[in-house]
């Protein structure tokens, strides 16, 4: 077979049967105007030839590509891939496809991704901001022209743009209280960059959690890192080297918690006897490490599903106001935080 034969069009069917293209189109759509006999013949041949409507032609005609652009900080983290699966789940039900782009945690690539996806005429975007993103101008065009846009996890402009997040304040409180209940008193927290909502919120939860336990907040126990492994190790070392060492640490996410675990072990401390550790992560890694890591699990699949649902709400009702969906997390207690 040669090139060009790979897809049949209405024209091919029309020529074969000897009717017009419009008749074929109507026959396939069971239009009542078409005689039963023609309809039958057309449908039979279409099935035989494996006809499927050309989405390009449809897209052009209907001005709708049935594509969603998804931008994540990276693809290799379980957290994001799992969320993508959730998005895909809902998208598939609606007959939509998703086009995935990764920002690699840089603003520059995020901007490029927005541009590129818009070029492909996706109908809208579902985005988790990169770690670097403090300026949100690249979303202006979408917001102004009312193109569907949904943020998740790391969000911004929540009054204009729908978003789905977890209750970070509550989650951080849960961790602090869990530490307290298990006898830990010098509870440290390795945070992320200030401009990220997740970092701010967890910090708030950490501090209010301390208060609700009757503990004082010691600023030296709150350290920041840029979410890289290397920086997290430095932050951990900083905590461990304090004159009065913390007896419990919680890290803002996977990478940070694992890095902390490595550094704690490297310095010869035992987990949880000397230093307890809790992560903020998803279900997979935590059970692989030793000791198994207590952590906040995100409902990642659900986050994706909710984001997709919000997206379709935008598509179907462009005038709808921005909504924020807040999902709950669960503290899964494992060995790393229980003496």
């Amino acid at each position: 077979m040669q090139k060009g034969k790979s897809h049949v069009s209405l024209k091919d069917i029309a020529r074969e049967i000897g009717v017009s293209i419009s008749t074929v189109s109507r026959a396939l759509n069971n239009h009542p105007d078409i005689s039963p006999e023609v309809t039958r013949k057309v449908q039979k041949l279409a099935a035989e030839l494996n006809y499927t409507p050309n989405p390009l032609a449809m897209g052009l005609l209907k001005q709708a590509t049935r594509m969603i652009g998804v931008i994540v900080p990276d693809l290799v983290t379980h957290f994001y891939s799992s969320i993508i699966s959730g998005i895909e789940d809902i998208a598939e039900q609606k007959g939509y496809y998703i086009l995935i782009a990764s920002s690699n945690e840089t603003l520059q690539k995020e901007i490029k991704a927005v541009e590129n996806l818009m070029k492909t005429r996706v109908e809208g975007l579902i985005v988790c901001l990169s770690q670097e993103t403090k300026n949100y101008d690249h979303f202006n065009r979408l917001i102004n022209t009312n193109i569907p846009l949904v943020f998740f996890d790391r969000v911004c402009r929540t009054d204009e743009v729908s978003s789905v997040v977890v209750d970070n304040v509550d989650a951080a409180q849960k961790i602090t209280r869990h530490f307290y209940k298990n006898g830990f008193r010098r509870i440290a927290y390795i945070a992320g960059p200030d401009h990220l909502n997740i970092s701010q919120e967890r910090t708030r939860g950490y501090i209010s959690g301390l208060k609700s336990c009757g503990l004082e907040f010691h600023p030296e126990l709150l350290v920041k890192c840029n979410l890289s492994s290397k920086d997290a190790i430095k932050a951990t070392a900083q905590l461990l080297n304090l004159p009065e060492r913390p007896d419990a640490i919680f890290g803002i996410n996977d990478t940070v918690a694992f890095a902390a675990m490595k550094e704690i072990k490297r310095q010869g401390f035992r987990i949880p006897e000397d230093v307890a550790l809790v992560g903020f992560t998803d279900e997979f890694h935590s059970t692989v490490v030793d000791p198994a890591l207590t952590s906040i699990t995100h409902p990642t699949f659900e986050i994706g599903q909710e984001a997709a649902r919000l997206f379709f709400r935008c598509v179907e009702n462009p005038e709808a106001k921005a909504t924020q969906v807040i999902l709950n997390t669960k503290l899964v207690i494992r060995k790393s935080s229980v003496k």
Copy 2:
């Protein structure tokens, strides 16, 4: 702003300047027929209005969507996401986008994914077979109509379809020899399903590796599993319960190796003192577990790149014969296999 204003077309520019659509098109493509003055005006306005050619229209016209379909067994494994990054890297350079689908390791979803992606008129497919796939009929249409198709890692029909794999035989030999050099003599292997090329090849390497070390092949030291964690644990238990316990185990992949690690620890054996362990995996997880896992690292990003390169060879030269790219692996020695 209202819907429909979100993208400008040649028509918009033409109307504004007062020339025909074709003139605008040519001006933007720097066609010599167009006067410098008109060209300048058109290009200026196009830039101002943020014009980008509509890919749907182009796709329809050129019968080329600049889209590649990628099917992987799952998205949440680092191995695949990293390969996807490699594919993306090359695709981006060529101005192509990729559409990702996951088979969830089932044949049924794989077939569906092929269908769906073909419906969207991707120009071709890059595929890693699902674990279940023994029948390859769903690729017939692609092969017969000469639609670009490339397999990676888990491959089939290598005489008709280009593919990229790692040298599995060599890798398994390396592991066996490494065990031998470090004083292990009862070397066991947890394999996968027989119909997968990767399983077969690694088994071959395991056996020939044993021979090259002057060790005898004991059939009871070769057990199979279906690549699930649960099954791998069962397989590990089976090995550990042998009257003559193996002193070294290698698992066919990540999941298996981690499961084995858990089970070995659970039974109270020390790694590597009682049982050494080597995995077949990529760089990330291995350093997180304790003890750090010796393993074969795949050049995942490169696998993706090579697959994409093969793909474009198919696109640019549809008559080219199928080629097989074989990449080398590296044995990264960590604590789990050195006494």
